[in-house]
Amino acid sequence: MNTLKINYKNIYYPPGGILMWIIIFLELITFGMALVAFVYYGNEQRELFHHSRMQLNTTFGAINTVFLLTSGFFMANAVHQFKEKEIQKSSVFFKLAMLGGFLFLGLKSIEYYHKIESGISLDTNMFYTFYWLLTGFHVIHVIMGLVILGWTNYGMTKKDSDTITEDVEACAAFWHMCDLIWLLLFPVLYLIF
């Protein structure tokens, strides 16, 4: 079976495409700087940050990590199957990856509901300002990722599809980026204060 060969060793062709990797670096630096600022302020208000952190549900955070990692695992398999020209199998993995994203959003919604019900908002204190902004922006990325996944899956399964490996890899790279951001947000927001 013929598979498309891309020279990934070329600096201009990382898996997912150079533009997607520029976006990943920008996102990593942006969220990273916000997390550094969060820790800096946390060091100045240790009691407040510790008390606020204890109000977060670490079990929810850990389960959401599992949801995103599982979703990322299915996404990696979807790319592998697409490269093997197994479009239907790839599509099944795409849907499983999307399911992981929806489960993440579902649990996040429950967590947000509990916080809002307890009267915790963006203005509550410095900890929660960071909490809402960082997790909120991350949720927006997950929603965008689900739209991209759904659109790519539709494009690759329709008749006379012109979806190529680079498209699927770029889509997967964006989805994995959501994992990566969460892998940094979870320990810093939920565990270390």
Binding site: P15, G32, V36, A62, G72, L183, L184, P187
Partner: protein
């Protein structure tokens, strides 16, 4: 399914459970913070190098990502 992907996935889940256990059963200290952030870096690297196939990319991307991530996590550990 590729066996290597299944293995990496298993390691990622095991590390997530280990992180949750460490956070629940150990008092927060500089050592525990370093341990938790170290596990996060390892998980981050597994996702990028294995799931995103960065291992196949030009060294420029591997080195750049490692340096960027390393700088962010070191700043977090030192500021904490």
């Amino acid at each position: 399914m590729q066996k290597s992907l299944i293995f990496v996935y298993g390691v990622l889940i095991a590390l997530t459970i280990a992180t949750a256990l460490i956070a629940n059963f150990m008092l927060v200290s500089p050592f525990v913070v370093s341990l938790i952030m170290g596990l996060a870096v390892f998980k981050f690297s597994l996702v990028t190098f294995q799931f995103m196939e960065l291992k196949k990319a030009n060294s420029f991307w591997k080195v750049s990502l490692t340096l960027t991530l390393g700088l962010i996590v070191l700043l977090i550990i030192f500021l904490k």
